[in-house]
Structures are given as C-alpha cells and as structure tokens.
Subunit: 542 residues, 2 copies
C-alpha cells in the first residue's frame, strides 16, 4: 500500500471544510488535518447577523458540524483554537499553535490548502479599540452580550454586512445609526437603485448618515467628520474585509494585484504544493478577466470542493466570477450580479442601461408588488454586463436567472425568448426578465432610443421638450419640472401641439412612453424615451 496522502487545511469553515469533506469522499485513506484559529468550525457565517437579531434564536443552529461530528463521519483531524503560524515550504510543514496552551506543533503535508478567509477591516479611528466586528462565533457572542442593556448602536459602514447588522440591531430594540462615508449604502447598487433601500432603512428607524465618516469613537457616542455626534453605546465596524494573507505572505507566496493570494485556474498558489481558496484568494472577473476580490460563500464553497478534486488529480477549472449577491433589508430583496454602471463608467467601458419596474407576478392577481430591475448591456456585442434588482418579492429569482443567462452566454436580447414558468401567482406571461430582453432588443435594433435619468436635465437645457404621456392626475401629482402633458391616449390627435425639435417622452415606468415614442418617431419626430420613466428619474434625482 502506498503512503497515505497528508493534507493540511488552514481554515475550517466554508472553503476549508468543503475541501475536507470532499477530499474524504475522494480519498478515504488520506490523512486530513484541519487547523482552525477560532473555537468553531463549519459555522454559518452568513447567519451570524440573524443570531444577533434573534431571528435565528438557537446559537447551536449556526454550528453545522463540530470537530467530533467531523471526526466520526469524515475521519477528519479537526483542531479548533489552533492557529497556523508558519509554513515551512521547503520541509512541507505547517506549524500550528494551540491557542489555549501555547504549544506549537508541526504538521507535515503533501498538499496544503489555505482557506483562511478574510478579516474585517478596522479603520484607524481614535477609539476604534471599542468597536466590535463580526466574522465568527466569538464575535457573535461578544456582540450579543454587548447588545444586552445597550440602547444605541452605530454601525460604521453601509455594505451588505453593515446593513444586515443594522436591521438586526433594530430587531434587538436599539437605536441604530449607520455611518457611511460615500453617499449611499451598498456600493454594488447604482445611485438610482439604492433609493428604495435608503427609504426602507429610514422607515424602519435606522438613522442613515451618508457622506460623513466617523472621526472619533467616544465613550457612548461617535463624533462624525461634520462635527455632529451619534449615540453609540455599541460600535460595530463593518467597513469591508481584507483577505487573510499574512501567513501566505510570510511564506513567500505570491500576492496578486488586488491584494489576495494569487492562484492559477487550478487554484494553485505560486508553490505547487499549496492550494488556496475562498475569500483569501483573487478570482478572475467575468468581464475583464482581471484579478478581483469576491468574498462570497457560494464561490468559497465551490472552490473548496474543487480544490479537493484538483489535489486528487481530477480535472477541474475555475470559472470567472460575476459576484452574484443578495441581501435582505427589512423585507426588501436587494440583489446584484456582474458590473454596475458606476464601475463601467469609471472603467470607460461602453454600456447601455435599461430600467424596468415590473410586477413580481401578474398585476391582476392579488399581492403583486413592483420591483426595480436594471440591466447593463454591451452596446456592441449585446452581452449582459450586469444587473441589479430591488423589491419585496421575486428579485432573487430574476437575478439568478440573469446570472445563469450570463453563464450561458446569452445576449441581452435573448432574454426575451426565455421560457420562464408562468402562472399568475409566480410571474407574468412576459416575465420581468423577458421584458428586459424586449427592451434590449429594441435598443439594439434602433427601434427605440432612451435617455437616462441623469442625462435629462442637460438634454432639456439644450432644448429638448419633455412630454409627459401619463394621465392628468398622475402628472398633477408628481410632475417632472418643465414637462408638458399630452396623455398617451390623446397623442395621435394632438401631434400638432408638439413643438419641433428633439422630444423626450416619459410616463410612470417607461412602458406607455415606449408606445408614445414609437408613435412620434413614425410621425417624424426626433424622440427618445426617458428610461425607467418617472420612477427611475425620481429615484435618481432625489
């Protein structure tokens, strides 16, 4: 019998433990050691905020496996409270330190897997020592303990985790302030898409402080860069995460341009005996193939499983990533995939933006809620570059469908032809995703032209007439300044009222104005539709 393969895995959660279990299934005889610095393995990181909020009441529910259960089922040697402190690449040995005893020990390996994850950034603010962060069970316990008796909390950072925390601290009855240095929460959303998220947070009592930063953390308040203060018996820092690269760096492994451990498409680091996965490594962007950091559980789990295959000599190759993500915000679903407009613009990449506000299911069936969906399209190839969705229902489905379409290489126009399951409770005969396809096709074919919400003012200043084709009541209730009302159903008879020169039509969401635009275009007008209608414009300019 040949000598069993010795595998050491550093990090015992999403990537690391997925690697360990798959490895065992592929190689019953391997000796597999998992080193985990914290006191727990296989825990549900993504559930931690919800335990803080009491939604997941039972702490045990977060612990999917224990060292004992992993020993029994998978014959894994799992050591919690064991930090990997050094990698001796020449001797192929990892040195661990038992954090309870301080004892160091060597673990020889044939293959080493790094899945150390990422660590929360602690911004260098005076008083930051008092701020808590959230990454593991210990952090969660500390946070739960700290909420007891506290009446106020300030969350620094309006990213996914910051927002989840804000919601859950509100659930705990705290007065919550979120301080975000940029002028919006959730950077993956474009500004006009984030407006309903801001609204939702405020409706639920979250105090949003945008465009300011925390200058100093005091005893029970924080002082902001504009001199104001916010109550903060509790302070949580959630300003993002940085790959855990210290150990890899110390071992002389290559760190990539984005600051993560560099791996090739087979997850090998610059040392062929060392693989790395998860939040700690750089991925390749789906659009540019450049190195990016995408700290998400789906990818970490996938890579963890894949690395086991690769170690066992089975073929596997990484896909580029789009970073599909979702977060719940007081019942609102906020999901994204691929690139957003800000990023495309900053990169100087041409794109088309499309906004729709369809119902999650047929409008004639009770309970239909409108969502906002945005699609970004390559104007030359018609490729889907990204999408964003915000709404109370069915946003997850549409973003997953679009993400899948991207994986399958479907063009934006091809979304029109997707066969999506329709009954009135679940969708529409023209599903929101189909509708995006129709709009994309119309733009690609030149059937219609659109103006974006942020272009409107300039166009009007340059002389374009803005025509509101909604009903008089809608117009009266919420006009766009400078617009002229000609209701769609009367338009054909009132063409002579429309002044010469460029016309921009708008309605509530863009649908009626599309019909108006086609009508006018065929009567010789130079016309464009205000993309997403009043709703997108309103969300953008606010």
């Amino acid at each position: 019998m040949t000598k069993p393969r010795e595998v050491v895995i550093i990090g015992g959660v999403a990537g690391g433990m997925s690697a360990a279990t798959r490895l065992r299934r592929l190689d019953e005889h391997a000796r597999i050691t998992v080193l985990e610095r914290s006191g727990h393995v296989s825990f549900a990181n993504c559930g931690l905020p919800y335990h803080v909020g009491g939604v997941i009441e039972d702490r045990e529910a977060l612990l999917l496996q224990t060292p004992a259960s992993l020993r029994e089922r998978f014959d894994l040697d799992v050591r919690v409270s064991h930090e990997a402190v050094r990698i001796d690449r020449e001797r192929r040995v990892v040195v661990s330190r038992d954090l309870t005893t301080g004892t160091e020990r060597e673990h020889p390996y044939d293959a080493l897997v790094l899945s150390p994850g990422a660590r929360p950034v602690r911004p260098p603010i005076p008083g930051i020592g008092r701020a808590l962060t959230l990454r593991d069970i210990e952090d969660t316990d500390a946070l739960v303990a700290a909420t007891a008796g506290a009446r106020s909390a300030t969350v620094i950072g309006g990213g996914f985790i910051g927002i989840e925390l804000a919601e859950n601290l509100v659930r705990r009855g705290l007065r919550v302030t979120v301080v975000e240095a940029t002028d919006q929460v959730m950077a993956p959303l474009d500004p006009e898409m984030v407006t309903p998220v801001h609204d939702r947070l405020r409706e639920h009592g979250v105090h949003l402080r945008l465009g300011v930063s925390v200058a100093e953390i005091g005893a029970d308040t924080v002082t902001l860069s504009d001199g104001s203060t916010a109550p903060a018996e509790l302070v949580v820092a959630a300003v993002g995460v940085r790959p855990e690269t210290a150990l890899a760096e110390a071992a002389g492994l290559e760190i990539g341009p984005a600051g993560g451990i560099a791996v090739d498409p087979t997850l090998r680091t610059s040392d062929p005996a060392i693989w790395a996965v998860g939040d700690a490594v750089e991925k390749r962007d789906g659009l540019t193939h450049e190195a990016v950091l995408v700290p998400l559980a789906n990818t970490a789990n996938l890579q963890g499983r894949m690395v086991a295959d690769l170690i066992c000599g089975r073929p596997a190759r990484l896909r580029d990533v789009n970073g599909t993500a979702i977060v719940g915000v007081f019942g609102l679903q906020v999901a994204t995939t691929g690139w957003n407009e800000k990023r495309l613009r900053a990169a100087g990449r041409p794109y088309r933006a499309i906004h729709v506000h369809p119902n999650a299911h047929a409008g004639y069936y009770p309970g239909a809620e409108q969502m906002a969906l945005k699609l970004l399209v390559d104007p030359v190839t018609d490729a889907i570059l990204g999408a964003q969705g915000v709404g109370t229902d069915g946003v997850d489905k549409r973003i997953d469908v679009i993400s899948t379409a991207m994986a399958g290489g479907l063009t934006a126009s091809e979304l029109a032809g997707l066969e999506l399951a329709y009954a009135p409770q679940f969708g529409s005969a023209k599903d929101p995703v189909n509708m995006l396809g129709y709009l994309a096709e119309n733009l690609a074919d030149g059937v219609t032209r659109t103006v974006q919400w942020h272009e409107l003012a300039d166009r009007m200043a340059a002389g374009a007439v803005l025509l509101d084709v909604r009903t008089p009541a809608e117009h009266a209730a919420a006009p766009i300044p400078g617009s002229v009302l000609v209701e769609l159903d009367t338009l054909r008879d009132r063409l002579d009222e429309i002044p010469p020169g460029p016309v921009i039509v708008h309605c509530g969401v863009g649908l009626r104005a599309h019909t108006a635009a086609r009508l006018l275009a065929q009567h010789g007008f130079d016309v464009a539709n205000l993309d997403g209608g009043h709703r997108t414009w309103q969300a953008g300019v606010r």
Copy 2:
C-alpha cells in the same frame, strides 16, 4: 405615400393582441383589424380559475384592455363577437360574422395573422352537454353562476387547469371530486414527483378518483367506469385543449403531424400571406425538434410579438420550446421544464435521473421548507433534458434557472458552478441547483452510481444488500423492508459486518448515503446510492 399595410388578426387575446400592439408600434400607418369571437379581448385567461375561486374578486381585473382602450391607444379596429368564418386566400379576404346581428363582412388583408388559440376538449360522454369548460370570460361567468348554490362539483381531468379549478371550487365551498383516467394528476410530473401533489389535494378535501373515467353524467352525479358515483351538481370538463384549426383547415392551410397549424421558423403557414401563432400552432421540441403542441401563455405572447416583426420584414426566428410551466396547488408550487422520465423512457432515449430534496433556503434560517427536485440528464452529452420541482417555496426560481441554463446550453455538471445569489433567507451557499450539478458531475465522472426507486426491488431480489445509514430512530420510524441499519457515523468501524456482494446504501434523501457510498467504494465494495433516498423511494412506491 404608399398604401398602408392591411393586417387582419384573428383572435384578440395573448398572441393576437400582442401581435396587434407590437405591429402598431412598428407601423403607425398599418390598418389593423382584430376579429374576436368572444365578447372580450386581452383578457387574462390564466387568471380565470382564480376569479372562479374569488381570489381575483374583481372581474374587471381580468380585462387588461377593451376595444375602446385599444382604439384610443393603438388605433386598432377591434371587433368582439365577430367570428372569422372564412378565409378567401385567393382574394386575400377574411369573412367575419357579427355574432349579435349575423351580418357577414369582408376584410381584405395584405397579411393575415391567426391566433385562434385552442379549445377545451369535450369528451364524448353521455350527458356531456351539462358539463362546463373554461376558456374565456363567458365561460367564467357561466361557471361562477353555476357555483352559486351548488354543493358539489366533479372536475373531469387532472391537468393544470383541472387542478387549478379544483382548488378554486374548494375555495367556493364545494365538495370537489377530480376524476382522472390515468393514475396521476399532472401528466408532466413523473409518478414519484406527483405524490406530494396528490397528498396536498387530499389534505384540502379534494376527492381524487384516479385510474377511472366518467362513464355517464347524470342530473347531479357522475357515474364512473368502476360503477361508483360522485356528487356533481356541477361538472367541469378539463381534459385538455385542442388547437383551433377549423378555419385554417377549411382554408386549406397545412396542418402538422401534432394536429396544430404548421408554421415555419418565421411563423408563416403554408400560405406566405398568412402567419399563425400561439396555442393553435405547432412548435418545435427543444430535444427532438419535432412538432409539438405547447399551449402556454409565455410562448403565445412571444410569438405574437414576433409575428409583428416578421410581417414588418424584421428578422426574427423561433426558438425550440421546452414548455416550462408552473401551477399552484393549495400553496404547493409544481413546476416543470423539458422532458420527464416517462416520456424519455417511452421514446427510448437514454437518460439519467437525479433526485434531491434540498431546503428552499439555508436550513439554519427559520422557515426553510424542503422541496423535491428532479433533473433528467443525457448520459452521453451531459445535456439537461428536463426538470421537475414540487415544494412550497422557491421551486419557481429553480425551474426558471434550469430552463435558462438549458437555453444557454449549459451542461448538467455546469449547474454546479452557477453563481446564484445567496443569503440565508433566499438560498444556500450550495444552492439546490448547484447541488443538482454536483450530483450530475459525480455521475458523469463515475464518482458515484445510483439506483432508482423503481429499480430497488429487483436489485434486492437479485441479491443486493440494502444498507440504511440513517440513525436508528429514523430507521425504526420508517424502514425500507429488508434494509440493514449501519449508521453512517459508525460505518468505518463496522465494515466487517457488511456482507459481500453488491450493496445499495440509502439515507433520508441521498446525501449521507453519498458519503457512505464513497467510503464503501474505496474499501472495495460494489456500491450504489439509492437516488433521492427514502423520500423518493417512499413517494414512488406508494
């Protein structure tokens, strides 16, 4: 100015009216006439059962447009209660009859669009004259009227519409019997997938009479083929629909092998001046490219819009169809796409079946409900052939994702790598669809072998040992007869207890048994996993 294009459209609902509105947007100057036999156009067929049940209370909500609104907005000449009775292809004229006055009239056309839909089949049963059917608003009104005062109803046919009707008649307080000649409702589901649907219907008081047919319809009962009777103050026939081809046939247009109007990939009938769309036409099957009937709204709407483009000389080409469909059954979501196992087997096509029972979202987050998902895979190409899902939550999403993957030509194994939006309320780090991909990959790579529920008895009879690796409590509560219990977590130490020869392992859903199977295989056993575990087996054998 050139003479405006004259277009006549027969049928004013999904396909016909989508054609009319798009046509107007493409050609402001066309003269567009829509002939509709019933008293209404643009109504929500798919909502009709829910109006019967009172879920959609307001009848007006079903009427998305009226002739007047379509005149105003789209300048359409819409004539309800006008039946197209004859097509004179030589003179390019349609003859309509005003059903209220009996007056006939000619409508010349340059282009004619047929979107006459399908009509409910009326089985030739003595007494059928009393049976109602459901296709349009008039039918709905009649049905609503008939439910008033009625205490019992028998629905003939357990297809999608029959089941929707059963649910809605229960909502009306009627005692409902569904009579279905085959031994299951919802033919698109395989037998082991339909079990929870049968359960659900029975739990809600629906009397399912499977494997019998209606022999005679009496005054307030029906007599079944086994001599029994069912109360039936109301009788509804829902045994499927047949394309409305009479007019086309009379005009000498080609009817295809599946019994629908034959069209080419540009929706042209055998007469180049006549196009046809929707339920009345044959589509091409996604798998075999053969002619099939797929009477669904998504496709009808798509084709309606497309035919307008084609008439205007714009390029467009039909895709083959997979027939993605969904129906709600007392809160259960039942969805399918592509082919099922029955059909594959009948066609002699090789396939692999995969069953999983994942949670709709992370198990550690409250409210996670298990669903049943089945994937059918081509064993040679790894192509996805079809999928079925049943559950209370998130089934629609998974079927749409799989349908999209099929459209994008992704293989079953590639489902593993899909980036699906994950937060604990919405999915899992390994989403159900990813999980299907993992299983497909394991089968494709020979990492695992499976036995299907319907193969188990034969395998055991031939000497295979069935090993239950669940806990003793699970085994005791619901054993598979003849199985031997060796709990997974003790398996490694008890290998000597396992008799030689072929072993089949099983657990609750297949997951633990997968780990057991890998363990045993590497210890030299000839082992296979019972696909879908106890749950699929149980659903299948019942």
